[in-house]
Symmetry: C2
Subunit: 276 residues, 2 copies
């Protein structure tokens, strides 16, 4: 029996160079996909009201909205600006009825070499955001990014670290987005996924693949099956921990961005069924 | 008072495109540097006997020999070959009187997606090597590599993981080479460095810097001071843990390999004094 496409979500970054938000939704619907995760710039280009209309009129399910975060700043004014922007991101996720707001937390503050300070600013920023997120009913999903992004994108780099932050903040409504690309190498990963399950903290499961060789730090992520990640084994750990939500395909790739959007979606479906 | 060059070692990979082993030694001596870490291909090109003569006649100190490792293999024959090669590496390090043999442990076995198996093969391979290493009096230094090398170079990616392996093997004579480039992002780093100190397991301290942006996964490492790593803070943690050996400059960089070797060494000295 073929796997139902109910278990597949398309992160719209995967086709961001080919299509606008509306075009991407049309593409997904043509392929029988009704679960997506849009980015805020795509929503802004379309307009939030029109994006909401498209989502509701087509009965789309959103595994998340990408992305809030980027908390560390050089001064109090920068931190206040980041918090304000994150509140807007929460509101957008609430308007669209998304399962969570994904957080790329940010790296070092500008001009800083103090990673400990950046990490403290992230915890403080998330804690400050949580009352607004809880009031809006939007779960906050910290996405640990691969350590190669620690300086400039996210200073939260392991699932263990993300869960420590969730525990430090407490009160619920905050968890993790688990992306195979960022975490497949993490020592003790299975234990951390089980821990996340016990905490009720698995909010999303993102998939792509790690290519060998990887030619670019940012835009050389692989289609599932083209790399070395044991995707089925990874999924097994996540399901064993009690998460059965859709697998969200998020591929930053100059190669796949150069292909027709319909080819990309057809390949995502084929590989989701064969490899995930 | 200027920092003495006794605290500075040059890993000869830093000038490997400019100079042979003998030329690199001459270059170091011209700049007052008497501590180095050669690579096995450089030793092989020179011949082990001639390399030994150069080392002894100049009173050179070796912070290590790079590198053994690459344990995971597809079958028993491959594992036996790797073990045999590692015994030869131990013998070379013993002949040259090096402080340690640095281990880049290897990534996934060819064709495998089983990272757990690769990690088990590394521990098994190191355990099998230890009797020979202990008999030769050569400390084995596991070098955890950045997670972006987990697939193809080293499946040991944190200091914590390396120390776990040292404890699992037991019996002493095995520790870690701590490279700021690979570990600067590790959550709980300070605790792990302190733990390594208590275990007597800090065998080497490698320095360079993490550039933002990093343009290449392999050959875009930075000169100390050009990136975002808090090198002085890192050194403080290592000295607090009881290690006072030389800082070994190891820079894989298309940029620095394109500069004259004397300019590279002069810059290493200047930055060692200013930033480390």
């Amino acid at each position: 029996m073929e796997k139902s496409l109910d278990g597949l979500s398309i992160n719209l970054a995967t086709v961001r160079r080919q299509w606008s938000f509306a075009e991407a939704v049309d593409g997904c619907l043509r392929h029988g996909i009704t679960t997506i995760c849009p980015w805020r710039d795509q929503i802004a280009d379309t307009g939030l009201k029109e994006a909401e209309r498209i989502v509701r009129s087509n009965g789309l399910k959103l595994t998340g909205v990408c992305r809030g975060g980027f908390f560390p700043a050089a001064d109090a004014e920068g931190r206040a600006r980041a918090l304000d922007d994150n509140r807007h991101a929460v509101d957008e996720a609430a308007t669209l009825g998304a399962d969570c707001l994904v957080m790329v937390v940010g790296g070092l503050a500008p001009g800083s070499r103090d990673l400990g300070d950046a990490r403290a600013q992230v915890t403080d920023g998330l804690a400050a955001l949580m009352p607004h997120a809880r009031a809006a009913g939007v779960p906050i999903a910290i996405e640990p990014l691969h350590p190669m992004y620690a300086a400039d994108r996210a200073c939260v780099n392991t699932l263990g670290q993300a869960l420590d932050i969730c525990e430090a903040i407490g009160g619920g409504g905050i968890g993790a987005a688990i992306d195979v690309y960022h975490l497949w190498w993490e020592p003790g990963l299975e234990e951390q996924i089980a821990r996340a399950g016990r905490m009720g903290a698995i909010l999303a499961h993102h998939v792509c693949d790690w290519l060998v060789p990887t030619k670019d730090l940012l835009n050389d992520r692989g289609m599932m099956g083209d790399g070395v990640i044991d995707l089925a084994g990874f999924r097994g750990m996540i399901e064993a921990a009690g998460f059965h939500g859709a697998q969200e395909v998020e591929i930053f790739s100059d190669h796949w961005w150069s292909r027709p959007g319909d080819e990309v979606l057809a390949t995502c479906i084929e590989r989701f069924r064969a490899n995930c």
